[in-house]
């Protein structure tokens, strides 16, 4: 029961993050949503995922969002199309219905396969078995950093 309440809170705050017009409130809703997600992770014994979720998503990313919002000026209100606020709930409810039907069908009909789970600590699994993903992660970080350098560069006078 608590699990269901937590999931509802997670989805509720995620929706608020999308629908709120005020960027600051949206960023805070997102942070609250990720705190709920972290609690769910902890309850499901995924403590490492919970720690990362709280420290990186709820903590670091929220700080980045809020400092960016604080640094920008709002010149004028950007009028968003009203279609979004009408279509979003419709698609959302549709998605939930499809999700419930499909997942119930799949979970009731199928048994899951169990492979021997990887042995060793979190660190050993990460370094010993997911090394290629770490290489990829380095690539993503470099791409992000270079993207920021490229997009905020000053163009020389003789450039186009």
């Amino acid at each position: 029961m608590i699990q269901i309440l937590l999931l509802i809170a997670l989805v509720g705050f995620s929706i608020l993050a999308v629908l709120l017009r005020d960027l600051l409130k949206a960023a805070i809703s997102l942070a609250i949503a990720s705190i709920f997600l972290a609690i769910i992770f902890f309850r499901m014994n995924a403590s490492y995922a919970g720690v990362f979720e709280i420290s990186v998503v709820a903590g670091l990313i929220t700080v980045l969002f809020i400092s960016t919002i604080a640094l920008t000026k709002s010149d004028e209100d950007v009028r968003e199309s009203k279609v979004v606020s009408i279509l979003f709930p419709i698609f959302f409810i549709l998605f939930i219905i499809i999700d419930i039907i499909v997942m119930k069908t799949l979970i009731n009909r199928l048994t899951t396969i169990k492979y021997p789970s990887p042995t060793g600590s979190f660190g050993q699994v990460l370094w010993g078995q997911r090394t290629l993903d770490l290489v990829g992660q380095i690539g993503v970080i470099f791409a992000g950093v270079f993207a920021v350098i490229a997009l905020f560069r000053k163009r020389d006078k003789n450039d186009k």
């Binding site: 499909v102 069908t105 799949l106 009909r109 199928l110 048994t111 899951t112 396969i113 169990k114 492979y115 789970s117 050993q124 370094w127 010993g128 078995q129 997911r130 090394t131 290629l132 993903d133 290489v135 990829g136 992660q137 380095i138 690539g139 993503v140 470099f142 791409a143 992000g144 270079f146 993207a147 350098i149 490229a150 997009l151 560069r153 163009r155 020389d156 003789n158 450039d159 186009k160």
Partner: protein
């Protein structure tokens, strides 16, 4: 060592900002192009090894005792690696001249090399989550490259591309999570085996639908194509060539084909869905391309149409269909890169992409006009150029499989393609020279060199097509034709 394909561009990319401090132009140009040439030669030499032994290479890379990287190289991934290396080498040469006026060449090359790292990693990965990570490496680098010009159009196109790609990756990630939930593993071998044991059409159907949304968006198949006609024309020409030439094929078609055919097993329902999506893409892409005035936008719509041919061939699922699809993928990478590079040369010389403002450019830009003619005739499927053979194989495969309706549409769309490419040639290069352009000059040396290189490859493949099929395409077709059994028997590590 297969890991070289990932490690070398990644290391050079990370050093590039420092190299840029030492030398703004020469060292970044030289080092990037030497590396790309090395990767091209390496893919050919390692390819010979695979082709002669007839099996794939499994690679475990150990650093001390802790780290473990598993990669696999077989006929299909080799074809993609070779294609990435070939197109990126031509694009690298072209960038020497073209990227001069954009500034910060070192950062441009760093992002370009990261895009290549991402694509190479995706092709070599043997694990669903690794495929996802490398997909993101290539995607993040490409968002920045699309916006590299920093104009309003570029930034808007890049933002649209980023948003739709985020939706695509969300679908892919959900599907991977569900697969992990049911099979308890992410390795392609375990997943293939797990799906056979579970034997559930519901699970396969649902995961396939999510992957079609995700990878379909990456490959820009209609109706998931909305981002491509903005993103591809807005990017600098060499990046348009990379995006249309290889990125949509690696992150969309390669990943989708590998998973659908070698892991899930291509069912007749999925085969029909892919064929219908293919044929809709062919028609929608061709019809919209026909009415475009912006040359790069027209090429972008044409990419959607040609991706349709590839999906149609591979979706058919017969060995001949797969061969035709892969051959068209190979050819399209070359002639579409060539055409985008040519459009960049025209834009740089005239400052416009509008076809109605051009005219008679062949008199001032003979090399660009000639190579563009080769590219246009190839893509339109005029014999004996390469595009003719791949389209012919797809159509023969469709007729053999008694899919006459699809075959007729493929032929008709090919006629439309020929028509609009001839229209481009006439409007841009022939007729009376527009007075405004009387002082323009031919593209600089490296730009012309790379387009000539690609045009010669188009002609060479057209003439030597049996050799190309035997050496590069047959091993790839064998991998896909073997279906799920291939992964279960050969990816056992």
């Amino acid at each position: 060592m297969v890991f070289t394909f990932i490690l070398v561009p990644l290391v050079l990319a990370s050093l590039m900002p420092l190299i840029g401090k030492i030398s703004k132009r020469f060292l970044p140009d030289a080092l990037t192009n030497i590396t790309l040439l090395f990767l091209l030669i390496y893919s050919i030499t390692i390819g010979r090894q695979i082709i002669s032994s007839g099996t794939g290479i499994r690679q475990f890379v150990w650093f001390g005792q802790q780290m473990n990287i598993t990669l696999a190289l077989d006929g299909f991934s080799l074809l993609m690696l070779f294609l990435i290396a070939l197109v990126s080498f031509a694009v690298g040469l072209y960038s020497i001249n073209y990227m001069e006026h954009y500034g910060s060449k070192a950062i441009y090359y760093a992002l370009f090399l990261l895009m290549i790292t991402g694509m190479n990693g995706l092709v070599l990965a043997t694990d669903l989550f690794s495929i996802y990570i490398f997909l993101e490496v290539a995607a993040v680098a490409s968002y920045a490259l699309v916006a590299y010009g920093l104009g309003q159009d570029e930034l808007e196109a890049s933002f649209k591309y980023l948003m739709l790609s985020a939706v695509a990756t969300a679908f892919i990630l959900i599907s991977i999570a569900i697969i992990f939930g049911f099979t308890d593993s992410l390795r392609l071998h375990d997943v293939a085996l797990g799906f056979q044991l579970l034997n559930s059409k519901y699970l396969v159907g649902f995961c396939t639908a999510l992957f079609i949304f995700g990878f379909g968006l990456k490959a820009a198949i209609v109706p998931f194509h909305a981002w491509l006609p903005d993103a591809h024309p807005s990017a600098p020409a060499p990046i348009s060539a990379m995006l249309s030439g290889v990125l949509i094929k690696v992150s969309g078609i390669y990943a989708m084909t590998r998973i659908f055919i070698n892991v899930f097993g291509l069912s007749s329902a999925v085969s029909s869905v892919l064929m219908y999506l293919g044929v809709i893409s062919i028609l929608v892409g061709a019809i919209i391309a026909f009415s475009q005035n912006d040359i790069k936008r027209m090429l972008a719509y044409s990419s959607i149409s040609q991706i349709g041919y590839i999906i149609l061939g591979i979706g058919l699922g017969t060995p001949l269909g797969i061969l035709g699809g892969l051959f068209h993928l190979f050819n399209h990478a070359i002639f579409k890169s060539l055409l985008f590079l040519n459009s960049g040369a025209i834009e740089q010389a005239t400052g416009t992409r509008a076809l109605d403002k051009m005219g008679g450019l062949a008199k001032r830009m003979p090399i660009t006009a000639a190579t563009s003619a080769v590219g246009s005739l190839s893509i339109a499927g005029v014999p004996p150029l390469n595009g003719f053979w791949s389209k012919l194989i797809i159509i023969i495969a469709l007729v053999q499989a008694k899919s006459y309706g699809f075959a007729v549409i493929a032929v008709l769309a090919s006629v439309i393609t020929l028509w609009y490419y001839l229209v481009i040639q006439r409007r841009a290069f022939f007729g009376k020279l527009n007075e405004t352009w009387k002082d323009i000059k031919e593209a600089p040396f490296w730009m012309s060199f790379s387009t000539i290189l690609l045009a010669l490859i188009c002609i060479a493949i057209g003439v030597l097509f049996p050799l190309i099929i035997k050496s590069w395409l047959a091993p790839a077709t064998n991998v896909l034709s073997a279906g799920v059994n291939y992964t279960i028997n050969l990816f056992r590590f």
